[in-house]
């Protein structure tokens, strides 16, 4: 999984079936997608990972939701809220991605949350849909927030993922154009490649810090 779209919404939330999204993803240059509330499968030569988005819940309920999805290969994403919530969620085992950080308040993700995310291997999602569909002040705000996150990313090196948030095949963008959007945020090609491979990295089993050979 080297090039993954970290969040798409297939039918019935969106207007495209998961197979059509997978077909489109293949043509646009992806090798895997995370489809929300869809069982994991392989469609049209693209790996479809099952995604779970937890939103609007206190930390206790988030923990319960994670327990339910544990062991099923589900990519668990939690919608960002205030700073305390984000710090707590980044430290939880089983949370893979913290998403919608652009919708959270200005100080929702600070250096402490970044350190916790880096230690725990929790990724931060850069959703490109506001950059694509929004205009003016709203888009400026999102780009500014992403700049801020990238400063913390360069310092603490927590993983990043990139998602289109596509509810339709029309919302998906080719990898080349995703790279173009990332260049707007100051990411170079290597950073973009790492972010596109972010889902694969966070799902891969962690290497042990010390290996006992005998």
């Amino acid at each position: 999984m080297k090039i993954t779209d970290a969040c798409v919404y297939p039918y019935p939330v969106g207007n495209s079936s998961v197979r059509r999204l997978a077909l489109e993803a293949r043509q646009l240059g992806y090798d895997s997608i995370v489809a929300v509330d869809t069982p994991a499968c392989e469609a049209e030569g693209v790996i479809v990972l099952s995604g779970l988005i937890i939103a609007g819940m206190p930390v206790k309920d988030v923990t319960n939701q994670i327990k339910r999805g544990k062991g099923h290969g589900v990519v668990v994403s939690v919608q960002a809220r205030d700073n305390g919530f984000n710090r707590a969620v980044c430290g939880l085992k089983g949370v893979h991605i913290l998403r919608d950080i652009a919708c959270a308040d200005k100080y929702a993700f600070d250096h402490v949350a970044a350190k916790i995310a880096a230690d725990n291997g929790t990724a931060l999602d850069l959703d490109l849909s506001p950059i694509i569909s929004q205009r003016g002040h709203t888009r400026e705000k999102v780009i500014h927030r992403y700049f801020d996150i990238l400063v913390l990313h360069n310092r603490f090196e927590f993983p990043l993922t990139i998602s289109s948030g596509a509810r339709s095949v029309l919302d998906m963008r080719p990898v080349r154009e995703v790279s173009g959007f990332c260049s707007l945020l100051g990411m170079n090609i290597q950073d973009t490649e790492d972010a596109l491979a972010g889902v694969g990295k966070i799902l891969a089993p962690k290497e042990m810090a010390v290996k006992v050979l005998s």
């Binding site: 019935p12 495209s16 197979r19 339709s168 080719p174 173009g180 959007f181």
Partner: protein, 191 residues
């Protein structure tokens, strides 16, 4: 004003973009306004003035666009922020960049117009002559023909409006819901 000699003219680049979803009628002027709005919003007036974005033609569901040489990357990024053209949801997929329009027209010929692979979709009924939306199809000469078929998906009856390889676009039958669904032949074969 006399035309400048070729060496003094500014160099231009032409972009070929596919308009999706297939079969949506897009007017050149509307597309120009959408592009202008997207480029200005993303890059600002100064860059757009240097970019000089123009819509040259819309042919067979493809748009041929022009910009100044050296601004193709910025233009392509701006084009990918287009989501709507006069209240119609669209997406532009950039296929090629070239120095001549002719080479892009050759590309369109190579890719061919919308092709209907009629045998692949399992349709439940094939009779509808009541003026409802029709399937965009093409023969070997690229001339569009019409066909209407119904299919079932998720226990509802839909009308196929476009079919290209494994891709099938459908609209729910009736007058209430006229949104497109994007499916594949495998989705329609599933019971």
């Amino acid at each position: 004003m006399s035309t400048r000699p070729p060496t003094l003219r500014e160099k231009r680049r032409y972009l070929l973009a596919k308009i999706e979803p297939c079969g949506v009628p897009v007017d050149g002027k509307d597309l120009y306004y959408a592009i202008h709005e997207a480029t200005t919003s993303l890059w600002g007036d100064v860059v757009v003035a240097a970019m000089q974005p123009v819509v040259i033609a819309i042919e067979d569901g493809y748009a041929i666009l022009r910009c100044r040489r050296g601004t193709e990357r910025e233009y392509a990024i701006a084009l990918s922020t287009i989501t709507v053209c006069r209240d119609t949801r669209i997406a532009l997929r950039i296929i090629a960049t070239s120095g001549t329009i002719d080479s892009l027209r050759d590309r369109i010929k190579d890719r061919g117009p919308y092709v209907m692979e009629g045998g692949e979709v399992t349709a439940t009924e094939t009779t509808d002559n009541s003026g409802s939306p029709s399937v965009e199809t093409g023969d070997s000469n690229g001339n569009p023909s019409t066909d209407t078929r119904d299919c079932t998906f998720d226990t509802r009856v839909y009308q196929i409006v476009h079919c290209d390889g494994h891709k099938v676009d459908v609209i729910e039958k009736g007058f209430k819901n006229t949104h497109r669904l994007f499916l594949t032949t495998a989705d329609l074969e599933e019971k």
